[in-house]
């Protein structure tokens, strides 16, 4: 195994977003804080989803998870498409790095960006409403699995996309709505029957619900189901991405 090569790529991918922290960390944090201010203020007193949990407290974990997954996706997909468009991906493809090493470095960097944003947001949330912490382990596991899944999805999207537009479309018409409409702002129990049923096949719903369970110890689904669905989605995406990297699909014509 080329450990040093793997580490070099990982550090490079981290430094890539670290050099533009305003854009890669601060900006998503501000977005989430604005959501929190608006929705928390408008609906804060009028709604209660779980008994004993204020609405503002309810939406904080959802907003954190939404930011984690959107940014994990953004990190891998934008890095890959940029290297493809600039042509500098050849430097990586010529190097003695295996599919697993490429995969691991990109995905880990995506997860780390998600974790960084999640941590900053958690700090902000603490200033607004101190959240309970039911299970550290569940919070961490859900962050890594969901962030990982979306980082891998970003890798796949980056491999498939031929230009920035493709990626922007995928981000705006799929990732954004899917993460936004999967229970960040409401419990699926308030949804009509049909949509509630459908939610049980939506991995994004489990990512948010399981993460929230880590704080409150209650959720729409069991934590086991959330871990399994999120982990399963991660594994499925990983299998596809690794197959692409191994065969050189689209990357090595």
């Amino acid at each position: 195994m080329n450990v040093f090569g793997f580490r070099t790529l990982l550090v490079k991918e981290i430094r890539r977003f670290w050099k533009v922290l305003v854009q890669t960390v601060l900006s998503p944090v501000v977005t989430a804080v604005l959501y929190l201010a608006v929705f928390g203020h408008v609906l804060g007193e009028r709604m209660q989803v779980f008994p004993g949990v204020s609405y503002t407290a309810f939406i904080i974990p959802g907003l954190i998870m939404m930011s984690v997954i959107q940014n994990a996706f953004a990190n891998t997909s934008s890095s890959l498409i940029q290297s493809k468009m600039m042509g500098n991906l050849v430097f990586l493809l010529m190097a003695p790095l295996s599919a697993w090493e490429l995969f691991g470095a990109y995905v880990l960097a995506g997860i780390l960006r998600g974790v960084l944003i999640g941590t900053v947001l958690y700090g902000f949330g603490w200033l607004v409403v101190p959240l309970p912490l039911h299970s550290w382990a569940a919070v961490l596991a859900m962050t890594v699995l969901a962030g990982g899944a979306l980082a891998v999805l970003g890798l796949i999207a980056g491999i498939l996309a031929e230009k920035f537009d493709h990626l922007a479309a995928f981000q705006n018409f799929f990732i954004m709505p899917a993460s936004f409409l999967s229970g960040v702002f409401y419990s699926i129990h308030t949804l009509p029957e049909f949509w509630r049923g459908l939610s049980h096949y939506n991995p994004f719903f489990y990512m948010i619900d399981g993460f929230r369970w880590g704080f409150f110890g209650v959720g729409d689904a069991t934590i086991a189901a959330s871990l399994l669905w999120t982990g399963g989605f991660f594994a499925l995406c990983s299998a596809i991405a690794l197959w692409m990297l191994q065969t050189g699909y689209r990357l090595r014509p």
């Binding site: 040093f4 042509g87 003695p96 014509p253």
Partner: protein
């Protein structure tokens, strides 16, 4: 086995893009320590072949080995042995020249112990003063030199340069030649593709000519020229007569009063040609002969200018 193996061996390599046969069964070897020229008109398949050797392009059939290492089964060893300077001026906009070189070395498992070597490369390629600049800020010629440095960071024993001198000014061309010669003198196998045939003629020991995905010639540079069955005769003539009918098809160019004839070495001795021209009524003012250049051989084999 690797001790006696060729620097690069290419066996039966095929590649199609849709219906286009970019490479149609290419087979040859490049010996260790050789300065090798890979020539061919635009679209001949040179870059595709280099991409296949480097693992950037998948071949449909065939086998490639670098220093005896199969480039698919033993891709790590094959890639470590190889440094490729791509044809396009590609670069990473996020990092400085020095950072890019250190990162590239890192991919090959080369850490701090290679940093002095990187500084030497920066020096030798005249990049030291720009080491802290981002590559975006550099001129085209400097970007090209960064690409060369990047290909050499891991001290590869085999180096491929894909048209390093295209669109480069004369001075930089000279610098690059000197650098390539030095690299070769230090024991590196150098493979060069170029459009400047005089460049290949001056630098390369052996030359392969590729045309439409097929190998047209592979020989020592001297042999390839000697084997050419033609030579050239430039005549400056006085008088308004007609050339003997046998010579008319041999005219390759006319320039105010002088003309160049392409003559078969064996069948058209110069003495006879001169006599027949004089016989047609001309007065011969000046005579010059010229041996074929690589350009002529190239034109002969591919029907195109380089």
């Amino acid at each position: 086995m690797p001790v006696t193996s060729d620097a690069i061996s290419i066996e039966g390599v095929r590649k199609t893009y849709g219906t286009l046969k970019a490479l149609d069964g290419v087979e040859f070897s490049i010996r260790r320590g050789e300065f090798f020229g890979l020539l061919g008109p635009n679209g001949a398949g040179k870059s595709t072949l280099i991409g296949i050797i480097a693992g950037l392009v998948r071949m449909d059939a065939g086998r490639v080995a670098v220093l005896g290492h199969d480039n698919r089964r033993e891709y790590r060893a094959a890639r470590r042995a190889l440094g490729v300077v791509p044809q396009e001026l590609v670069f990473d906009p996020f990092f400085s020249v020095r950072e890019c070189l250190r990162i590239q070395a890192g991919y090959y498992g080369c850490g701090r112990e290679y940093w002095p070597w990187i500084e030497r490369l920066l020096d030798e390629l005249d990049l030291a003063s720009k080491a802290g600049a981002t590559i975006r800020q550099l001129s085209g010629g400097m970007k090209r030199r960064v690409l060369i440095a990047q290909a050499l960071v891991h001290k590869p024993p085999v180096v491929i340069l894909d048209e390093p001198t295209a669109g480069v000014d004369v001075e930089l061309r000279r610098t690059l030649w000197r650098f390539a010669r030095k690299l070769h003198a230090e024991g590196t196998t150098v493979v060069l593709t170029t459009h400047y045939l005089e460049e290949a003629e001056e630098l390369c020991q052996r030359i392969a000519i590729l045309d439409r995905g097929r190998l047209k010639a592979l020989e020592g540079t001297g042999q390839i020229l000697a084997r050419h069955p033609f030579r050239f005769l430039r005549l400056t003539l006085d008088g308004d007569f007609r050339l003997p009918p046998g010579l008319e098809p041999c005219v390759v160019s006319r320039l105010n009063g002088s003309l160049e004839l392409k003559l078969k070495r064996e069948e058209q001795p110069i003495g006879e040609v001169l006599e027949s021209v004089r016989g047609a009524g001309f007065r011969i003012v000046d005579v010059r002969t010229r041996e074929p250049t690589l350009e002529d051989v190239f034109l002969e084999l591919t029907g195109e200018r380089a």
